[in-house]
Symmetry: C2
């Protein structure tokens, strides 16, 4: 039995477009929405009223700008009207959050995984979902981000970090929780958060790069995420960044994995200083000026800059968002990042604005929640067009 996602708006298209515009672009007046959607003001009256009556939209005060004429009545959604769960599935734990319609995090919880077989993981997910659902209004949908190849209908084709292949995770979680569940690649989820509610909101083109155990990449062009069948394999992990850099486990010299990942940096600095260190300590040493750590971290920063230059040259993004648990590298080595970025770009090109995220793990969960929100709001699962 398939648990179906409830639909947001009753209508066909235009009313949904109005609701979507207000959801994503915040409180907007009817006239502003009309302009954005290329509709008449008459149409906006017609479309907004049922949405107001249904309680999805509210009038949220007046626009207090000093222009002449009747002031605008701002329309806004009621973000609290719906709750979603977003989860990030990792090798040894599941992290979950509840959010509202705008992906604002309301609560956070985790469950450790004692085993990685699908049944045990689903049990942990269901328990976490049940616990998160306590004390909040009904959960509309669950989104789960998984690193790996995700197929339509919630099937995990391949997730090496769990040693999974062809697991119907979506169906299993729906069966265990009774709540509609969307499974999505973790980077797609992260990118969709930025797309709808983050640094990419309202932009036509942007890219996402995450640093951590691996190097992640996401791309939105023409206001739509770019993906192919290979998405989730790891497109840029073995990107060559430094012809004289260290060698990765698969024999690539100076590839992204060999110089940009947490473990690569930690290992290089530990080796240089002759003692085991954590990633955090390695970056602290570099920040405080320890020469060997500084050099290794700067090399990594330069590599990151060159990766960003490649992305900028080939995809022409309006901004790039940097995230992931290892993102502090971008701050500690920001000058090296800039240097690498400039080295591989034409000096006449416009500067590339960067947005640096905190690197906290709940950012992945928020992304997963956005995938659930999108499914609900758009009326169809993102993997089923």
């Amino acid at each position: 039995m398939r648990i179906t996602t409830p639909r947001w708006t009753p209508g066909n298209g235009a009313d949904r477009a109005v609701a979507l515009e207000v959801l994503i672009h915040g409180p907007l007046s009817r006239s502003e929405v009309a302009r954005r959607l290329d509709l008449s003001s008459a149409s906006l009256t017609r479309l907004a009223n049922p949405l107001l009556e249904s309680g999805l939209l509210v009038e949220a005060g007046e626009q207090a700008d000093g222009r002449v004429g009747r002031p605008q009545q701002l329309l806004d959604i009621v973000p609290e009207s719906r709750r979603f769960i977003g989860m990030k599935l990792m090798a040894d734990e599941v992290l979950g959050v509840t959010t509202d319609l705008r992906a604002n995090v309301k609560a956070t919880e985790t469950r450790r995984l004692t085993a990685t077989d699908p049944e045990a993981v689903v049990a942990a997910i269901a328990e976490l979902a049940k616990s998160l659902a306590r004390g909040t209004p009904d959960i509309t949908a669950i989104g789960i981000g998984v690193g790996g190849l995700i197929e339509a209908h919630g099937v995990v084709r391949s997730a090496p970090f769990l040693k999974w292949s062809d697991v119907s995770l979506g169906q299993m979680v729906e069966a265990a929780t009774g709540i509609p569940t969307i499974i999505e690649n973790d980077l797609v989820a992260f990118t969709e958060y930025e797309h709808w509610f983050g640094a990419g909101r309202g932009l036509d083109r942007f890219a996402v790069v995450t640093l951590g155990a691996g190097i992640g990449y996401g791309l939105v062009i023409h206001d739509e995420i770019v993906r192919n069948d290979d998405y989730g394999i790891g497109l840029i992990g073995h990107w060559p960044l430094d012809p004289f850099g260290p060698v990765c486990s698969e024999g690539h010299r100076g590839c992204a994995k060999a110089i940009l990942t947490d473990s690569a940096i930690t290992q290089s600095v530990s080796q240089a200083l002759g003692k085991p260190l954590t990633y955090k300590t390695a970056l602290n040493l570099a920040a405080s000026g320890e020469p060997a750590a500084r050099r290794i971290v700067d090399d990594a920063g330069r590599g990151l800059g060159r990766l960003l230059a490649a992305i900028a040259n080939l995809t022409m993004p309006q901004t790039v968002v940097l995230g992931g648990e290892g993102v502090r590298l971008a701050a500690v080595a920001s000058e090296a990042v800039d240097a690498g970025l400039r080295a591989d770009r034409d000096p006449r090109t416009a500067a590339l604005p960067l947005t640096i995220r905190s690197g906290e793990n709940i950012e992945w969960c928020r992304g997963a929640a956005v995938v659930a929100i999108q499914t609900f709001v758009l009326g169809h699962r993102s993997d089923e067009p």
Copy 2:
């Protein structure tokens, strides 16, 4: 005074969508068009009839497949119903073609440029247009591809090869010829040909790389060309491809310009063999197995492969089209191209289909004609949304 482009279809949107679908995707039955555009068969009857009456569409026979049921009546446009001119503006000559509505080339002519000041160039363009227009039906519009930064309204902001900046080329040509004229970046034009009538027809994502005096790059994602304000500067000319390669004029070691351009290859082979050669001879020597030429050309091929890998990794294209006057490199060094492509891609990714064009200069003109066709068919200039 502004010369306006005539409009293709009288209607508002749906009829244009039908005409466009038939133009691009060849003869289609009403039912097929209805499926593609998500319309009812009733709507298709309604929409197709005026287009048939206006002479833009014709019924082009029946679909002779052995299925049960009434056979499909194929709709097709009459490509001969309109003529366009496409031109490629080069440093010392202008190359022009006439085409039909599907960008099939009907005639070709050139004019040498004796000077590069705008007035002299416009005079040559007008003369060429007049000559091309003789003996064909009325020209609907002219498209001109120019290497450099092109602004809206036919203004060439910067075209170094002519030493131009801020030239209102479109207006000048319209004034001289009386024919609506569209100015576009040459790579955008080349890419739009592939998009509508070439290897990218019907695809969601593809890239274009041209080899020659410079290295060109074009990208279509989600069925729309990707461009930003910097488009035309040369995004990938100084891309680093070989850390041990030769140095370009601006001091980059092993950049695309230093190893992939015609002149770089010609120069390297000439130097290695101690005698001046042409590009063609250099490639011939490599093809016939001359060791030094073979090595240089293979290095270039490997560099090209790595460039293609970068594009594939970051933009996930369904195919890449290779063109430009130096494109024979891709054929002569095809094994090296494959090797470079494999080296920088995850082995699990699907193979990247390549389309290799002939490299003739009229391919650029055909692209320029497509820009004119698009302006006419879509009812607005591509640079004026």
